[in-house]
């Protein structure tokens, strides 16, 4: 790990299960072959609480990220156990600015199944990993994809999220590979990127094992 370039930081905001952070980091590292580091937790984002909605404003948290010291990281993903929203939507599972540096993933609504029953932890963390990879895709400028069998397809609800695969379609994987290639200034990672099979259908199976 130490020989790799520190590219992506995963940072908890408030209390977040360590296992969730590890699952997210492992997926980013395993699927995208990027260096990942889990960072010390940041304070609970009380400043972003909307008292009328009892939810946390994702836009405000992302803005606050900009003043933090994350200069060693190309991208930073904040993980929370809180209910996130952006003003137009009732809620969001995650949020990222297209082509930006910071993204958020909320575990809050991932713990329940579409019928309201609690979901097993393994499924919750699988969902969190999907949301993290999806938002990371936006940070690398990937758009929402019309292909349903693609991680970048928009998921409006838990059921959609469960039906969304954890891999990218051919078009998005080519695009992401190109983005990663362009953003990398490290000879070694350039060589490695060339070998990444981003569109491995088997990666779905690999995740489930």
């Amino acid at each position: 790990m130490s020989s790799k370039k520190r590219l992506v930081g995963v940072v908890p905001l408030g209390e977040v299960p360590e296992i969730a952070l590890k699952v997210i980091a492992a997926h980013i590292s395993g699927y995208l072959n990027l260096s990942v580091q889990i960072l010390p937790p940041l304070e609970h984002p009380e400043y972003a609480l909307d008292e009328k909605r009892f939810q946390y404003n994702a836009g405000i948290i992302l803005k606050a990220f900009e003043s933090k010291r994350f200069k060693d990281y190309d991208k930073v993903i904040g993980v929370l156990n809180l209910d996130l929203f952006i003003p137009i939507f009732t809620h969001v599972f995650g949020e990222a600015k297209q082509g930006g540096k910071f993204a958020l993933v909320s575990l809050f609504r991932l713990r329940k199944n579409p019928d309201g029953s609690p979901s097993p932890s393994s499924l919750t963390y699988e969902r969190a990993a999907k949301v993290a990879l999806h938002e990371l895709g936006h940070l690398f400028n990937l758009l929402h994809c019309r292909e349903k069998n693609c991680l970048m397809h928009f998921s409006g609800g838990i059921q959609d999220l469960d039906e969304t695969p954890i891999y990218l379609c051919r078009y998005c994987s080519t695009f992401l590979k190109d983005r990663l290639f362009r953003q990398s200034d490290n000879e070694e990672s350039l060589k490695k990127l060339d070998k990444i099979p981003l569109n491995l259908l088997s990666s779905k199976e690999r995740f489930r094992q």
């Binding site: 836009g59 929203f85 952006i86 003003p87 137009i88 939507f89 009732t90 809620h91 969001v92 600015k97 297209q98 936006h138 758009l143 929402h144 019309r146 928009f154 409006g156 609800g157 959609d160």
Partner: protein, 448 residues
């Protein structure tokens, strides 16, 4: 959501504008934002947004008022209304006015996705509808002949009637009124429509060449006749022959054509063998043939032969109510050809175009619109885009002096720059003081 759209988000709250535009950018849509209805209308004037997301509650002009204006002035733009819980009545009102859909704030992310899918579907249906409408119009009307004035309606009614017979038709009208289009429409509606339509401009060919073109020639009958060639009267075989500017042909050619019309036979130059011909003759002229008959340059018997049915096509200045329709047609035509999104003309410019006399008729109007579209930087054509019309030189009865030319040129440039002396002096490459002196010396004033 299949295809990329141009979307404008209109909301006085920055956070809403930002959130929605970020969301649309994730679908690769082109997104613009406006903080008020006035700003939105300004932007619509310059660029045709396909879809607007409009908040109902806004200071100044509210969402309903903006929706009404958009639906009146830009009916092709679709509008989705965003409203808060508790203002359902406004949402219902918006739907009645013509909103495509509405969303209650805050909405679930998948609701926005559903709305976008419905919009996409509506857009596809509208495109299909426009395409089919266009096809239908082409079938039922007369391609490219545009008009809704009583005079043009009479012509539209006349075309299918006269198309059924084989009688010769004489089209009378000033240059640029669309005589050839009417001739083509008659041919298209006739039983000869599957056979050739051949148009010859008699005024453009010298007599000997016209004779050779019409009657054909044998090999070697004159210098350059290296091989035998069939004339158009024979080639047209069963179709329609359109002779434009028939008033220009010589008396000898009039006799030759008269004989052909009576005998339905031709003999090519250098041959003695007559050949049977079958065609329908449509002639056209912008001259007064009656005067030609009086002064002896046009044969009376030939006139009656070609003038079994006469259709008088009015000049554009006598059917000014057709001008907006024609402009819209040419905007679509050249917008398509140049791929520029120019689809509107300001009221002032429309008034100017209606006031103008159009000596070159529809052809001149078409050229004016084409020129304005090509040079325009905006989606809307204004008076400045048609400034060249006001400077069209009038026919001269005597040569102008150098001073008169200078005076006219300065006046024209001043009008073009809306009497902005600084800009006009730059265009004329003289300093402002000199320009002021010249304005005073020539007694120049702003034209009404």
């Amino acid at each position: 959501m299949d295809e990329k759209m141009s979307i404008m988000v209109v909301d006085d709250e920055e956070i809403v504008r930002e959130s929605l535009s970020q969301w649309f950018k994730k679908y690769d849509h082109v997104v613009e934002t406006s903080s008020s209805g006035f700003e939105a209308l300004d932007k619509l004037e310059k660029y045709p947004f396909q879809l607007l997301f409009v908040d109902i509650k806004m200071p100044g002009m509210d969402g309903i008022e903006l929706l009404e204006k958009v639906k009146t002035e830009y009916p092709d733009s679709m509008v989705v209304i965003i409203t808060a819980y508790g203002s359902i009545e406004s949402a219902v009102k918006a739907m009645k006015i013509g909103a495509s859909d509405y969303l209650l704030k805050p909405f679930k992310p998948d609701q926005l996705s559903l709305v976008m899918e419905r919009i996409s579907h509506q857009k596809r249906l509208l495109l299909e509808h426009d395409y089919l409408k266009g096809r239908l119009e082409k079938i039922s009307r007369f391609d490219n002949i545009i008009g809704q004035s009583p005079a043009m309606e009479d012509i539209f009614n006349l075309i299918p009637e006269v198309a059924q017979s084989d009688s010769s038709i004489l089209l009378i009208g000033e240059t640029g009124t669309g005589k050839e289009l009417v001739a083509k429409a008659i041919h298209a509606k006739s039983r000869r429509s599957h056979l050739p339509f051949i148009a010859i401009n008699c005024g453009a060919l010298p007599d000997t060449l016209l004779e050779s073109e019409l009657f054909g020639h044998q090999k070697g009958v004159f210098t350059g006749a290296t091989q035998a060639r069939k004339g158009f009267l024979e080639v047209v075989s069963g179709g329609t022959l359109f002779l434009d500017e028939i008033g220009e042909i010589s008396p000898k050619m009039q006799i030759d054509l008269l004989r052909v019309l009576e005998e339905k036979k031709i003999t090519s130059i250098g041959s003695r063998e007559p050949v049977d011909v079958d065609f329908r003759l449509i002639s056209a002229t912008s001259q007064d043939l009656g005067k030609g008959i009086t002064d002896g340059s046009f044969r009376e018997d030939f006139f009656y032969r070609i003038n079994v049915i006469m259709i008088d096509i009015p000049p554009l200045k006598k059917r000014k109510e057709d001008i907006p329709l024609l402009i819209q047609h040419f905007l679509e035509k050249y917008g398509h050809e140049t791929t520029k999104k120019v689809d509107r003309v300001t009221r002032d410019a429309m008034e100017l175009l209606k006031r103008y006399d159009w000596p070159g008729n529809v052809r001149e109007l078409e050229n004016a619109v084409e020129r304005a579209v090509v040079l325009s930087q905006s989606r809307t054509l204004g008076i400045k885009d048609f400034a060249f019309l006001r400077s069209s030189p009038a026919p001269l009865s005597r040569p102008l002096s150098l001073q008169e030319v200078e005076k006219q040129h300065i006046q024209q440039i001043l009008e073009e720059y809306d009497w902005n002396v600084t800009q006009a002096s730059k265009a004329l490459e003289i300093n402002r003081v000199t320009l002021h002196k010249k304005i005073k010396r020539f007694n120049l004033e702003r034209r009404p």
